[in-house]
């Protein structure tokens, strides 16, 4: 379990994290979303015990990260941003070092290391020094060191950054399989990832929590929630049909994808009426889709006006 109470961190005059309070229970995967410089990494660094809070507190499995730091660190696995590791070490030596430093007794150590090697498919790079590995492998080594002691709490700062789609898929699977009995926080700015792995999403900007909901709830906030998209050869005819449906608030046409999208009035269902009307008017439709909502649009709306890109970068440590 992870709990923060009014957790804050200032760098000089800049308040990077501003009185954040939340709680994550075992079995939950919390997605931390936000523009660059929003305070995601700083929050994670504080929970992992690297940075001390300027105010407020955080605890991991009941251990305060400041007063009971060692106990908190023991139950936490942490993948720092960029997955840093000792480049001159071989993968095997590095994982052994982490396992030893994590206090795993000698007999179990090699077994645990073998297990994470298996889980992250590191067999082929065991004797290679980490600095010679590809970005994808480095990230996997970083993940391996975070889970080698089978921690109750996992804090992963952009775990899929720089991975190819297959590797992303694998890492998400890994997170999903571990999610059952662990408490996990994942930061990301890849919105599809939230749907893929998170049971809950927290949107944070300028150090404050702006939204805390399930991914489905966030999508429901989108104006595209329950919208209907279609592809047709008769665009003018279809546009006409869509605008005649009573509950349609607006019709949009995307020139790039050549799709028409009908946006419903709040809380109304338009899929049934539209599909019937299209059929009765004999408009050829090659694709008809009910949208659940667009995460990127919700994200933009919630963080709107945020100067994310222009803000000073999050603390580089």
């Amino acid at each position: 379990m992870i709990e923060t109470r009014q957790l804050s961190r200032r760098y000089g005059d800049l308040t990077a994290v501003d009185a954040i309070t939340f709680k994550v229970e075992p079995g939950q995967v919390l997605g931390f979303l936000g523009p660059n410089g929003a305070g995601k990494s700083t929050t994670m660094k504080m929970i992992a015990g690297f940075l001390g809070p300027s105010a407020g507190s955080a605890s991991v499995c009941g251990h305060d990260v400041v007063d009971d730091a060692l106990a908190a660190k023991r139950v936490t696995g942490y993948l720092p941003e960029g997955a840093p590791s000792y480049g001159e070490m071989t993968t095997r030596a590095f994982l052994n070092f982490i396992a030893e430093a994590r206090g795993i007794p000698g007999a179990q150590r090699s077994q645990r290391v073998e297990e994470v090697i298996e889980r992250l498919h590191l067999h082929n790079v065991l004797e290679q020094s980490i600095e010679t590995l590809s970005k994808g492998f480095k990230r996997r080594v970083g993940l391996a060191q975070a889970i080698v002691h089978d921690p109750a709490v996992l804090i992963l700062d952009e775990p899929t950054d720089g991975l190819d789609p297959n590797q992303k898929f694998e890492v998400r699977n890994l997170i999903n399989t571990m999610a059952k009995d662990k408490t996990i926080i994942v930061s990301t700015h890849i919105l599809e990832e939230v749907q893929a792995v998170c049971t809950r999403a927290v949107i944070i900007a300028r150090g404050k929590i702006l939204a805390d909901a399930t991914p489905a709830e966030l999508e429901a906030r989108s104006r595209y929630h329950q919208a209907v998209s279609l592809t047709t050869s008769n665009i003018a005819g279809a546009k006409d049909v869509l605008s005649r449906v009573a509950d349609v608030a607006a019709v949009e046409y995307d020139k790039v994808t050549q799709r028409l999208t009908a946006i419903p009035k709040r809380g109304r269902q338009i899929f049934g009426p539209i599909s019937e009307l299209l059929k009765s008017q004999g408009i050829p439709v090659s694709e008809l889709q009910l949208e659940s909502g667009r995460m990127d649009e919700v994200f933009r709306t919630i963080t709107h006006g945020d100067l994310g890109e222009d803000m000073p970068e999050e603390a580089r440590a």
Binding site: A48, G82, P84, S85, M89, E100
Partner: protein, 244 residues
Amino acid sequence: MSSIVTVFKRELASYFATPVAYVFIVIFLLLAGAFTFYIGNFYERGQADLLPFFNFHPWLYLFLVPAVGMRLWSEERKSGTIELLLTLPITMWQAVVGKFLAAWAFIGIALALTFPIWITVNYLGSPDNGVIFASYLGSFLMAGAFLAIGSCISACTRNQVVAFILTVVVCFLFLLAGFPLVLNFFTAWAPQGMVDAISGLSFLTHFAAIAKGVIDLRDLVYFALTIAFWLYASAVVIDLKKAD
């Protein structure tokens, strides 16, 4: 304690995983030899002792030890591994001491590899091996003091070159604290007590005392305190600078 050992082992192994260790050891041995034989006139003196060898250690360390110390923390900060290291269940002082001891042991290995000169002098004559042992001890302690300064300065910056240069300067001041070059800065305005205190900080004075073969507890305590102080300062600096 076991955490210190874990950090120590990793750190020491990392020296030998890169060319750093070999370059350092070879250069150290070459320079130590060159100074002893060419500048120290080891043969021409016709005396069975290692004074010309140990006399140059402070100056050798002045450039070589900062080269070892500069990477201690600035590299961790630059590569971000400091975040990894300090979120392991180890305390700050275990990390600081473990890394320091590894670097010190590494210098100790280089120093131990100068043993042929000890064999040489024993072959050529019958030196006082007690004095030689004391000199080795003094030399090793002095290296530790240099290194502790390097550890602290390395913690201040993520740039290794800056760390190196600053460490050389600070070590130089400590080396010559008892000499007019440094003392003249203070005699004009500082009270005599302070000037005496500063001159008492000279590495050279304390090293020379031990190298004479007199292992005085005060000299040992001096080096131990110097090391402890700079390591404590390292921990404070790391904690303060973590956020940048």
